[in-house]
Symmetry: C2
Subunit: 150 residues, 2 copies
């Protein structure tokens, strides 16, 4: 059916628009901390792993589904902002460990309220957000699994 080539029927359009609408909500909140949306995601990963070994660039990439072409300049900017340092691994000099600075660690404390602010700014209930998140996570996993099977 040629009717399928209609904008409002496309899942891609729905996802694309929803993702940018959500980014619009985050942007002003994160701008208050001098961060972009992907930079915030990198910091979330680093804050999570505080007791473990600091992740490498490719480790961050595996977590966020981003390659070095995106992460290298992004990390350079986080380093310039004084939030992280990059250190070549002595054991394997191809690897670069990304570590939080004291300022990067301290930033977490100032951002604990961000998830609540976000939920408030979207006008969505906590339950709605949880259902949406879980649906999306399932969909993403399905796509990735299906890709690997080819």
């Amino acid at each position: 059916m040629t009717d399928d080539l209609v904008l409002r029927r496309q899942v891609c359009f729905a996802l694309y628009t929803a993702s940018r609408a959500m980014a619009d909500v985050y942007r002003p909140i994160l701008a208050g901390f001098g961060l972009t949306y992907p930079q915030y995601l990198v910091l979330l990963v680093l804050w999570e792993g505080e007791q473990e070994q600091p992740p490498t660039v490719s480790g961050l990439g595996a977590r966020l589904q981003l390659d070095s072409g995106t992460l290298s300049p992004l990390l350079k900017r986080l380093e310039a902002a004084g939030l992280v340092v990059r250190r070549r691994s002595p054991a394997d000099e191809r690897r670069v460990a990304v570590e939080l600075t004291p300022a990067g660690r301290a930033l977490r404390g100032r951002m604990v309220d961000v998830p609540r602010q976000l939920a408030q700014a979207t006008g969505l209930s906590a339950d709605d957000l949880v259902v949406l998140r879980d649906t999306l996570t399932r969909i993403t996993r399905t796509i990735h699994q299906h890709k690997e099977q080819q």
Copy 2:
């Protein structure tokens, strides 16, 4: 609770990742037609409005939630590809109408199978895709409505 600052709990991350995973599925399919994902969305709008007046740049922007900073260079590339022409409105010379060329119209016929290919490539059922799309559309509308109320 500081636990909220955990990657997998963030709706932004779920949306961001799902959107890019879906783009990964579309990319090779659209590349076969020499198109990017946003270029395809612009064509969907143009194909839909074939009997009406051709939309202006801002009309396309309203439909896709994109501004001239994004659309102007994108349309320039579609024009270079021979798929659209841009024409200053004689009645109001600020406006630029975006029209399909015969090649742009013909492309639709060659792309009728794309939605089916996509559904196949995601490994999701038609029902899953419909539910996802409707959930996302609802969420996006909620965010936009909430923003206007401020």
